[in-house]
């Protein structure tokens, strides 16, 4: 029995048919405008306040729209973009090292393992330079050199220095910049902010997105909010794996409910595994903490040459160490892209060379860098990361090497969008990590911050204008709204009425282990099958046996989690189906059946150079979007 049905192909119709370099200018020029005096008559809902949502809300409000903004946190400043450490890429070529818009585009398409759209990625590279200008104008304190100019560093998968950073807190600083811009618009009355409010469904009227149903997390009140367009900027779904680097509250509910209302979900199986995470310390672990990839600029990764060598690292002499990345990939060394570095770590650990508890770790060693540059230089570059590592592990990384292991980090899949970042539901725009568009099967370091801000500051404001300027919208009648609200209410009542025996977390943890074991760093047909058998059972158990204390009409954190885990249990199945259907290895998707003789991922461009856009149904329906590479010719990705 087939796991899915096949539907008509899908295509992006919004990227103009002009040369790559002119597409975005052409699209902006052809886009309809809305007279400034008419803009305040339009309400736009933005869900999420991270880099994408915050920058979009601030910019749309600046343009004169009335923005209604939502976040589940108590303040927009807490969105998980705040935790990004390393940096943000921009084709400024301030280093005169041969960088250009075209090179950033090229690196990003290649880094994404040829599963992203050329048009979108080129635009991303184009606006990248403007993002840095915008952030600096807002007072983001990027690292500077003594001459007062901006400092840059390099990141995995790249041979130029184009990454701008603010110590190891780049995400925080960029987010605070967007948050401040948003705060300014809140004060001006152009943004109506609903904090501690969670979107639970999408209101679609006459085929168009016209609002959301949301729950006030403090009072439990369910309310419908209407608008002329809805923007989802709700981040990724990595928490389907339970243990991930995502914040505990990060969830897929908004995009999943939109999917169930008709938005296609693209490439769900492309989940990025980040190579430099602090290994888990025990069963109690609630989440994983990342160590910025920028550490690989100066840190050298190694394991002992001897299996099961339990000597302390300092006692293992130089010639008994295997600097395996430098050995396998001499030209990129420790700076190979994330999927390559992650898989290499898994391979050495699986082969029995891993260090630390359970042998699930490799060393990230700064001894050479400290000798070469001195401790103060290392402190200046990575001080806060070293402090964080020490706090979590109680080990001093200046004295002993860090131990790292890969972990689920970023999801490249998400709702399908066209060049305008509009989903298959007109009026529903999806930006940042919540969409699928720019990263392909893998994400290079320092490109997520770039995409979030590019979408929010520069792309969306132009395309939302076009939508509102070219669409006639009637008032929404109450009849259209009531059924959605009722469904949301009933679902919550149903959850609360189960009164079973197992906690929400116990289901989430079980799902997570299942997904990590069978759909994590490497996947097999057999394992995916096994998980596909178990997930529906687990979902049935959840709806039969979950226990949620308390009531709906109050702050109820177990109910919040239950709502989200119920959606993860559905999304997990689509993720597995997608992974099973993709009979190739590609970026963050490694199918063991498809590898080269030397163990590298083997892509199948002939059959799989497409975006898998899934339509919701009794059985998921696969719509393929063919990917065309006119500029960057797909080749075996080589970093040796």
């Amino acid at each position: 029995m087939a796991d899915y049905l096949t539907g008509d192909p899908i295509a992006d119709t919004k990227a103009p048919a002009v040369p790559l370099e002119k597409r975005w200018d052409e699209r902006k020029f052809a886009a309809k405008l809305v007279n400034p005096a008419n803009r305040r008559k339009h309400r736009v809902i933005v869900v999420g306040t991270g880099l994408a949502g915050g920058s979009a809300g601030a910019t749309l409000a600046e343009q004169g729209y009335h923005v209604v903004q939502f976040c589940f946190q108590d303040s927009p400043r807490r969105a998980h973009s705040v935790a990004a450490q390393g940096g943000i890429n921009a084709a400024k070529n301030y280093r005169n090292d041969g960088d250009s818009v075209y090179r950033l585009f090229h690196d990003t398409v290649k880094g994404g393992d040829f599963r992203s759209r050329e048009s979108n990625v080129y635009r991303l590279a184009q606006v990248s330079a403007q993002i840095i200008d915008q952030a600096v104008a807002q007072g983001v304190p990027f690292a500077r050199e003594y001459g007062g100019l901006l400092d840059t560093r390099s990141f995995g998968g790249v041979q130029v220095q184009r990454t701008f950073y603010a110590r190891g807190q780049t995400g925080q600083q960029l987010l605070i910049g967007a948050y401040q811009a948003l705060s300014r618009q809140i004060d001006a009355g152009n943004v109506e902010l609903h904090a501690r409010t969670e979107m639970l469904d999408l209101v679609v009227v006459d085929g168009r997105a016209r609002g959301i149903v949301a729950r006030d997390l403090v009072t439990g009140k369910i309310e419908t909010h209407l608008a002329d367009a809805v923007v989802l900027a709700t981040g990724g779904y990595g928490n389907v794996f339970y243990l991930s680097t995502n914040a505990k509250g990060s969830n897929a509910t908004a995009i999943w409910r939109a999917h169930k209302r008709g938005a296609y979900f693209a490439n769900p199986c492309f989940t990025q595994i980040h190579p430099t995470c602090i290994p888990r310390s025990g069963e109690h672990q609630s989440k994983l903490t990342l160590m910025s990839e920028s550490l690989r600029n100066d840190g050298r990764i190694w394991v002992p040459k001897e299996k099961g060598d339990t000597r302390p690292p300092a006692e293992i002499p130089e010639d008994e160490r295997d600097y395996y990345l430098e050995r396998l990939y001499p030209s990129f060394g420790n700076l190979v892209p994330r999927d390559i570095a992650s898989r290499a770590a898994k391979n050495v650990c699986d082969a029995g060379f891993g260090v630390g508890p359970g042998g699930l770790g490799v060393y990230l060693d700064f001894a050479d860098a400290i000798t070469r540059l001195g401790r103060p230089a290392i402190e200046a570059r990575y001080g806060n990361l070293f402090d964080m590592y020490q706090r979590i592990t109680a080990e001093d990384p200046y004295a002993v090497p860090m131990r790292i292991y890969p972990a689920i980090h970023y999801t490249m899949g998400g709702l399908w969008v066209d060049y305008d970042l509009q989903s298959t539901i007109p009026g529903l725009f999806v930006i940042g990590e919540a969409n699928f568009s720019d990263h392909g099967a893998n994400r290079l370091g320092a490109s997520a911050l770039m995409q979030g801000l590019a979408d929010g500051y520069f792309v969306l404001p132009a395309t939302v204008n076009d939508y509102l300027g070219s669409t006639r919208l009637d008032d929404v009648l109450p009849e259209a709204v009531t059924p959605v609200e009722t469904e949301v209410r009933e679902r919550i009542e149903r959850l609360l009425a189960i009164k079973g025996t197992r906690s929400v977390d116990s289901f989430h943890r079980e799902l997570g282990v299942l997904m990590w074991d069978h759909c994590g760093m490497s996947r097999t047909r057999e394992g995916l099958r096994k998980a596909l058998d178990r997930v529906p059972e687990l979902r049935a158990e959840f709806w039969r046996d979950v226990r949620i204390p308390g009531r709906g009409a109050e702050l109820n954190q177990e109910l919040e989690k239950a709502n989200r885990v119920a959606d993860f249990l559905e999304l997990a199945e689509l993720l597995l189906v997608d992974a099973l259907a993709r009979e190739e290895s590609c970026g963050g998707h490694f199918r063991e059946e498809h590898q080269t003789p030397d163990g590298e991922a083997e892509r199948d461009d002939e059959n799989f150079a497409y975006v898998a856009a899934w339509e919701y149904g009794e059985k998921p329906v696969l719509h393929r979007e063919e990917l065309v590479f006119d500029h960057v010719h797909p080749t075996q990705r080589s970093y040796t």
């Binding site: 108590d74 303040s75 200008d133 600096v136 500077r144 310390s281 116990s506």
Partner: protein
Amino acid sequence: MKLTVRIWRQTGPATEGRLVPYPVDGVSPDMSFLELLDVLNQELIAAGEEPVAFDHDCREGICGSCGVVINGQAHGPERTTACQLHLRSFSDGEVVDVEPWRAKGFPIIKDLVVDRSALDRIVQAGGYVSAPTGSAPDAHATPVPKPDADLAFDNATCIGCGACVAACPNGSATLFTAAKVTHLSLLPQGQPERGQRVLDMVDAMDAEGFGGCTNTGECVASCPKGIPFASISALNREFRKASRAGRR
């Protein structure tokens, strides 16, 4: 290890709260403090009781969501956030008191959860540079001396957790406001609004019911991000200068 946590339980803003003791056994010194609360909550749920409500999100010490008073100290005995505090900082058998932030500016919502939106309103009053999107000059057009950029950064690292308010005997939000004012006043981009910013932010702080600053320094001692005491002097200088200039 084994601990007894005495946790502030309060069903809502209008109800009375009290400390309730809960013994927790078999926890690991490698657990974070919030993971201890997770373990306790799983036990409470299994026993048919209501779990403890507490704010948390990133669990990496950067989002600023978590924050409780542990044994009388904001975020507990180490200078970090509650999510980055580990049980190795406590001794086996210890009795640990856990309370919400207490300040007039932070009304209690439930158990350990308080409303810190007043801090957002202080930022909304002027804690920004007015830089509309799309018209910014090239980033290299205005060099910023590295020491200024570094000091601005030191202040910009504030996570808005509210520990400074909770630690202050007056419930003052001065350190929070000082961090933002100092960050922006050091950069060339923030100059035109410099005077107005500080006056508006200080007004907003007072309007929210935060107490005045008496230079006690508890805020600095409890700040997980090490915002320096000098920022408060800087805020005062900025405020005096702007007041004299009569910016309104």
